[in-house]
Symmetry: C2
Amino acid sequence: VVGYRSDVASRDRPSAAEGARTIAASTNSGTLATLGAGGEPWASFVTYGLLAGAPVLCVSTLAEHGRNLAADQRASISIVSPSNDPDPQAWARVTLAGVADRPVGDELAAARHAHLSAVPGAAGYLDFADFTLWVLRVSRVRWYGGYGQMDVATDVEYAAAEPDPVAPNAARAVAHLNADHAESLLDMAKNLAGYPDATSATCTGADRYGLALTVDTPRGLAYTRVSYPNPLESPADLRSAATELAERARIGG
Amino acid sequence: VVGYRSDVASRDRPSAAEGARTIAASTNSGTLATLGAGGEPWASFVTYGLLAGAPVLCVSTLAEHGRNLAADQRASISIVSPSNDPDPQAWARVTLAGVADRPVGDELAAARHAHLSAVPGAAGYLDFADFTLWVLRVSRVRWYGGYGQMDVATDVEYAAAEPDPVAPNAARAVAHLNADHAESLLDMAKNLAGYPDATSATCTGADRYGLALTVDTPRGLAYTRVSYPNPLESPADLRSAATELAERARIGG
């Protein structure tokens, strides 16, 4: 039985930087923290687009956060990935912290495009005189991927990472595997993940590297992963990769 | 035609303080803004309960926001009401700002109960040595109820207000009115809201005071409200109050 194909990939799961980029790319709203006139912290809802992972904000100088940013450009944004999990502590989230500045020239055009692509409704106010585009230059990243999965990433790691391309299809794939392929998941736990005494297995996540499984055994619960031979490059690859994993697991690894 | 029954209620819509209390009571998670060691703003996901409107947090001193609060108790929390509206700028939200402190004695027991009632999963860690309960004493409130509805509330107004008791049933009532009672909504627009030339009407909100309507007329869109004779006291009252409004509208006000 082969557990992980450590020979073909340097790692078998997303890094903190990749997790952070994936969460940032999963939605278009978050909460900004800025500083009030007395240095007090101010939390406020914002929409954003992304320019190479850097949040692009469009805020009014008539709004409190807009006045705050104009006076002190230090800021951070907390982004929570949309989830149906009833337990909020299980939701994946990230904090991106740094200093905001106003893009100019070509970058202003790119920032404008990035914001409008993510927030089409901003077309109704983006060009009003009181609205300003800001790019948050990310210098610190704190990623939380769910229970027990947390780490920091540097600005360089964050800038170099890319969002997981299969993330848009992951929730549907996980639901489908659990609903219709319990036997295949159990085969994976037994024959690929090293739990020959597994009695059932549930898929809890799917990413470009593989599937996360929670495995029931007579010895207790186990949390493990099974990996594809190579990282996936497109959302459409998820289905065939899962099918191949199931086939490899069925014939015993 | 009688428009609003201004004779029986001092107002016909929720105040900013009521709106803020209602949003705070609508969920159990938000984003906290605290200050890092250099005074920089830090945004982080938190769960909370409520003690007379004051957010009760349970954070670890091993987490960045826990260390931040231990060093500087100034904080604010942004809370967004759950919504199915695809336009994030339409989501109701509030910022509550103030100073956090650690409850003691009877208030500690009440704060513990408030947090656990809202976040049952906290039973798994609340009593760990590194977790601390904090109560955010709210001194400033900024409420945003949706497009064109925004205001501030004082600490006294916020403390004195109560969450709208019909809020838990409001989304379902609005969906039902729009799906099955278009004719009644049009009658309300024509005969109660003062738009005799209305061609259609959509309900966009329901609260203890009445219904918010968007009305199509040959002159353009209008945003208006129709009010119940008296504010409602329980979620179960919403159905009969809407039925009575429809009947009053049908017979011409």
